[in-house]
Amino acid sequence: MTTPNLPPLANATVALPASRGEWVAKNVNLDRLADSLALPGETVQARDLKSIPDVWAQVLVFQNALTQDNHPLRAEAIRDWRALLALFALSEVYARAYRLELQGLDLAQTERGPGDLFRRVLLRLRPSLSLPQAHAADAPARSLADWTRPVLVFVRERTGGSDETPLFGPPQLAGVLNPATLVATGKTSAALDVRTAPWLAGGLATRRSWTRSAPCPGATTPY
């Protein structure tokens, strides 16, 4: 019985070296090793998880949290994801409350501009993760799995005006459409505050409970 030269492990699902003093590669799996780490029981917030060395870390953390059962941010990510999906699903119902605006970017554009450097970095580290549906035979020609063309999702809350000429407030960045999660929160999404959309009143940051009093409660009620 040996002791691995590794951090504390809670449930070693990786094959540990049977003998000392040698480098062993048999069945070493990074994912299983990650799951085996003995984590302290402290509460984790998204801002504490900064360890992904990637310019797309915000989206990748969201994707991980959404898809991994034991991720510390899983509940938070599911709640946020559903809130963002509901923005789309209920946009007709709440047409008098807010308006969605989508703004696409082409990171591979050849036109020179002050954003060339940031675009180059985004492109170089662009993920290749994508939902399986993006690769289906009937997927659109411009595949959803195209990280070079992210789409920004803005919400403009109605502030007044008439039905014919409604007035809307400034655009608030709600998230980013992407190939891995359809839509993901951005760093500023926590401050999103759309008072006329019950599931966003007070903002994502406050994590208010979903309300059954809203129209279409089935779409916004936890299940």
């Binding site: 030269n5 951090p7 900064k50 060395p53 870390a57 991980n64």
Partner: protein, 544 residues
């Protein structure tokens, strides 16, 4: 053509592993030559500074003592069997003496926002600025965070910052390009990166630089056939006191494991879709070594050497070794183990290959014994000529040396400095393995070496200088005791010969070989400090 070897320490932890590797190289354990470089956004980082100083010292030592035509010279290129010396036989050199450290951004007050011209983007490319805001908080915690002292445990910031400057026309990158170009001429190029999973620069630069270097190495077909990229990734292995300000925008000890899990999952996904490393070595520790203090960056971050860094250095030595067997699996990830959780001996250090388990003991042990003998016995006698009547003094040609010659004075100063660095490093590593000052010791039963007769330990006085070497132990009994204790015996191996055996050897015959002046004495003492006479010759190198 011999392979070109390049070792890059990324961040403070990476620099500390390079430091441990340099001591291996000094002991003659490593490839014939290796170029060394550092990457750290925090130019004043104490760990990086110490490793660079050691690199310069080793380079200077080789230049003064092993170069052709020198008045005092030992032959570090001939095989040991022909009189050559293992001491400093690995030619470790910086890729560029003036530019061996690359700090991606040296402008004062630089931030991520300034790097990517966030203010200009807001006016001229507002959509791109919005995407930046989605990925990085626009406030002082991310886009506005000053980067002069590193990335403060935020590798997602570091990844963007490093990549924004990678491949630019800087001397550091020109040197890297020059090395990689040799691969396209058919020469094998081996690049080994060392970083951590939990830090700022090290965590950010480790995968980012590996991906960038592999991209740079691709030929017209998109392949990089003669380039091998290896990496040592340090997992959590030490703990530190929490920052004084709980809200500080810095790395916190309680988050290390959680951060590591997220990072390892990221690596898992990344490596499934992109060939980044040909070999990856992981090292961590439980229970964590306790530093007992907090240092966010800059000079204050001069942490003591810790045992896992020596283990990781063994992975670098292995990666560069031309004689080891090829990996059994494609793009393997390696881990290692020790016999017991609370003990560590020579047989626990991962070997280069089966059958070569004794090498670390024999070579590092020989270096330590040489340092003890040199500092306590040989050097004082040269200084005072107090042992001028001893046979070795005549036998090894010490009597004919012109000690007041400026070159000889300088040579001795550099050798003395090197010896002290070896001993201080070994003493500090021993201290922080065994101390219970700040919590449970990492390795209560530390069975590699014991420098305590030659050093005073005081981890609480100045954490950046936890050991002080005592004056040379000129008392014969004390010197004999220090020499006897400095290397712990390997398991199931007889106690190594004592200092009497060393003198028995150097008193009898001059060390053969192409040595000159004081170099013959150094070579003789180093050779006589060996632990066994049966060291197998490393495969792939001539018997040395």
């Amino acid at each position: 053509l011999a392979a070109v070897n390049l070792l890059i320490g990324v961040g403070g932890t990476g620099a500390k592993v390079v430091e441990a590797a340099l001591f291996n190289f000094l002991a003659g354990f490593g490839p014939r030559d290796v170029s060394v470089a550092f990457v750290d956004q925090d130019e004043s980082n104490g760990n990086v500074r110490r490793a660079r100083e050691l690199l310069r010292t080793v380079e200077q030592l080789r230049g003064l003592w092993t170069g052709g035509g020198r008045p005092d010279r030992w032959d570090a290129s001939a095989p040991v069997s022909e009189g050559g010396s293992l001491l400093a036989s690995v030619a470790a050199r910086s890729i560029d003496p003036a530019h061996d450290l690359w700090a991606p951004h040296t402008e004062p007050g630089v931030t991520l926002g300034s790097i990517f011209s966030a203010n200009v983007l807001a006016r001229e490319e507002p959509r791109l600025k919005s995407l930046m805001d989605a990925l990085y908080s626009p406030d002082a915690s991310e886009q506005g965070m000053e980067l002069s002292e590193g990335y403060r445990g935020r590798p997602h910031i570091g990844a963007a910052a490093i990549l924004s400057r990678a491949e630019q026309d800087a001397p550091f990158w020109r040197s890297l390009r020059e090395i990689l170009r040799r691969a396209q001429g058919g020469q094998e190029v081996r690049v080994f990166l060392i970083g951590s999973v939990f830090g700022g620069t090290g965590a950010a630069g480790f995968p980012t630089l590996a991906r960038t270097l592999r991209d740079m190495a691709r030929d017209a077909t998109g392949q990089a056939p003669n380039v091998r990229v290896g990496g040592a990734l340090m997992l959590p292995y030490f703990g530190f006191a929490p920052p004084p300000d709980d809200q500080a925008n810095v790395a916190k000890p309680e988050h290390l494991l959680r951060q590591s899990r997220a990072a390892l999952k990221y690596y898992h996904d990344l490596f499934r879709r992109e060939h980044v490393f040909d070999e990856l070595y992981l090292t961590g520790w439980n229970p964590p070594f306790q530093l007992g203090y907090y240092a966010p960056g800059s000079n204050a971050q001069a942490n003591p050497p810790l045992l896992p860094e020596l283990i990781a250095a063994a992975s670098a030595v292995r990666f560069f070794d031309p004689g080891r067997p090829p990996p059994e699996t494609e793009n393997p990830t390696y881990i290692s183990a020790r016999t017991a959780p609370d003990a560590f001996g020579w047989n626990d250090l991962p070997a280069v290959a089966p059958g070569r388990e004794a090498e670390p003991y024999e070579k590092l042990g020989q270096l330590l014994r040489f340092c003890a003998a040199w500092r306590n016995t040989i050097r004082p006698s040269l200084r005072s000529r107090m042992f001028g009547g001893d046979p070795w003094y005549h036998k090894q040609g010490a009597k004919g040396v012109k000690y007041d010659r400026p070159e000889t004075i300088q040579n001795l100063e550099v050798l003395d400095d090197t010896v002290e660095r070896v001993l201080e490093w070994a003493a500090a590593l021993q201290l922080f393995a065994t101390t219970g000052e700040f919590g449970p010791p990492g390795v209560p039963r530390f069975n590699l070496w014991d420098v305590s007769p030659m050093a005073t330990f005081n981890p609480r006085a100045d954490p950046t200088r936890p050991v002080q070497l005592r004056p040379p132990l000129t008392d014969g009994t004390a010197a004999l005791n220090a020499y006897r204790r400095i290397v712990s015996a390997r398991d199931e191996v007889a106690q190594p010969p004592d200092q009497t055996a060393l003198f028995n050897e150097i008193n009898v015959a001059a060390r053969p070989g192409a040595h000159e002046g004081l170099g013959r004495i150094v070579a003789a003492v180093h050779h006589a400090a060996r632990l066994t006479d049966t060291a197998p010759a490393p495969a792939g190198r001539s018997a040395r």
